[in-house]
């Protein structure tokens, strides 16, 4: 198969071409490594790539496909993994200096599930340091550029994963989403990204940021790929005590082009001040398409939207300050040289090893958990979280899906966001309440602005209703294809 045609295939289409012998796992890996050689110097999607290991693994998988041992939709398909997912024997940095040389002794459960499905890892993708950021600019290893326009950020924190999919430097990728870190970069790069219901994908081996909010999910070229990847990575895992046993994980069965009678709610509070007019128009056009195709679309008041950001940053910072205590320069990672005594070593190691944004959140988290402030800040945020969840419960009593934008704007230019953290945090307004409430949500491309930058449509579902989201997203994608 011709290289350009091969690279343009979706993950499931490539899997099929490999199974029918039109191409092979090795040919696919060679093509993707060739593409990386051509464009990676501009985009910088990856932190670590081991070409030799990837090709060797592709060869082994090809044999298993030919022998009939591997028959699944992702067998032989090259995948990129976000660098906060542990990979046995392959450096896992979280894009931080403190883990620059950390080589895990085990793989994350989601990575293992992909290996079982026969997907072949290309390498580890760049991200905001410890997933703290919305642009991939807080990475210790330098910025990733948006393949749709390299003067712009790819979004974050899974910016390397989203950019790698958009740049055809992989066929699909895994990311993690604590406050929008899959959906927002998917939106900025014009790809599909899903955050599953909390507990659907095991967090075992995911370097924790905000444990009550973190969830691993797919970044893909198509909704069909999204369903196939979710099917592969969803599993009940005793090693993650928040993992949930789900009976119905046949997500590909929801790839049905039909939204007749589907009840879709549009929160008025998502279309107020701060929303770019081009984004607004594209999202409302998408809503109109759903209506034209038989969905029952209406506006409603979700409420509490303005309280989601302060609630999120309190809880996420608190959990981060606790989770990141483990980085102490003893068992793994960076250790500051020439420190006097144990306590000084801890302090110097962490001060030299963490970047500015990580320190900012650890400090805030330590403060809101400290004696005298715990009730006023941390417990207060947990109470508001309960209220936000209730608001969604009320909404899902009336609707199958909630439809809105992913982010208030398209991808900002490089260097525009970090100078004003508060402004960057405000960009998370439409994504973070989903994490607070544990809900599934998907970002699908719904147009471009006048500069050609992609715009994402967000569909939010009730807990465990990924199938409704997949059906709605798939229908929207197919209608878009036909009208082109």
């Amino acid at each position: 198969m011709e290289k350009k045609e091969l690279l343009s295939l979706s993950a499931t289409a490539l899997g099929k071409a490999i199974r029918t012998g039109e191409t092979s796992a090795v040919e696919a890996m060679e093509a993707v490594l060739g593409q990386i050689r051509e464009t990676e110097s501009v985009y910088h999607c990856y932190v670590t790539i081991d070409e030799e290991a990837a090709l060797k693994k592709a060869g082994q998988i090809q044999k298993k496909i030919q022998s009939g041992e591997l028959t699944g939709p992702l067998a032989g398909v090259p995948v990129a993994i976000k660098d906060n997912l542990c990979t046995e024997g392959v450096r896992t940095t979280c894009s931080s200096k403190i883990l620059e040389n950390f080589v895990p002794t085990f793989s994350a459960e989601a990575v293992k599930n992909l290996e079982k499905a026969g997907a072949v890892m290309i390498g580890k993708t760049n991200m905001d340091e410890f997933a703290m950021g919305s642009t991939t600019e807080t990475s210790y290893f330098g910025v990733t550029r948006n393949p749709r326009n390299p003067r712009h950020v790819p979004g974050g924190s899974s910016g390397g994963s989203a950019a790698a999919v958009a740049a055809e430097e992989c066929f699909f990728a895994l990311g993690s989403d604590t406050g929008g870190s899959i959906r927002q970069p998917a939106s900025y790069c014009g790809v599909v990204g899903m955050k599953p219901t909390y507990g659907t994908v095991s967090r075992y081996g995911l370097v924790a940021y905000g444990s009550s909010l973190d969830q691993i999910g797919p970044l893909t070229k198509t909704v069909e790929d999204c369903a196939a990847v979710l099917e592969a990575i969803a599993s009940h895992d005793l090693k993650d005590s928040t993992s949930i046993e789900r009976k119905d994980t046949d997500f590909s069965a929801a790839l049905i082009k039909d939204v007749k009678g589907m009840r879709i709610g549009i929160p008025r509070d998502y279309f107020g001040e701060g929303l770019d007019s081009e984004v607004k128009d594209a999202v409302l056009r998408a809503a109109e398409l759903f209506r034209e195709n038989g969905a029952l679309v209406e506006e409603f008041d979700l409420s509490l939207v303005e309280y989601a950001i302060p609630t999120y940053y309190t809880i996420a910072a608190a959990e981060a300050s606790s989770n990141l205590e483990r980085f102490d320069g003893i068992k793994y990672g960076y250790r500051a040289p020439e420190a006097e005594g144990l306590h000084q070593m801890y302090k110097k190691t962490r001060s030299q090893g963490f970047g500015a944004e990580v320190k900012r959140r650890i400090m805030l988290g330590s403060f809101v958990l400290s004696s005298g402030y715990y009730d006023a800040y941390y417990l207060k945020a947990l109470r508001v979280k309960a209220m936000i969840r209730k608001a969604f419960d009320d909404a899902f009593a009336k609707y199958d899906c909630i439809l809105g934008p992913v982010a208030p704007t398209t991808a900002p230019g490089l260097g525009e966001s970090l100078s004003d953290p508060m402004k960057m945090y405000l960009g998370d307004i439409y994504t973070i309440s989903v994490n607070l409430a544990g809900l599934p949500a998907v970002s699908v491309p719904c147009g471009t602005d006048q500069n050609g930058l992609p715009i994402g449509l967000q569909l939010i579902g009730d807990c465990f209703q990924e199938k409704k989201l997949i059906q709605a997203a798939y229908t929207f994608e197919q209608i878009g294809k036909e009208s082109r």
Partner: protein, 97 residues
Amino acid sequence: MANIIDDETIEYVGILAKLELTDEEKEAAKKSMGEMLDYIDKLNELDTTGVEPMSHVFQVQNVFREDVVTNGDESEKTLQNAPGVKDNMFVVPRTFD
């Protein structure tokens, strides 16, 4: 700014967070933490009387399992990541005189 973070607070948070900040970083931290807390204070507009704090979104029970080793002895591999190793143990700086 309603929340003024003084030097004492920043020192205290530095101890809790185990971070050693330069004077410049301290000034920046005072400013940014004050701004964040002002913003978080917005939550006080909401009456949360009688609302139970929600730490987990689902009604799930704690998960117990037998404490059985399933992954074998990985001490050698584990120690390879350590900044300091001696006689199959982690080396740490002097902890007391």
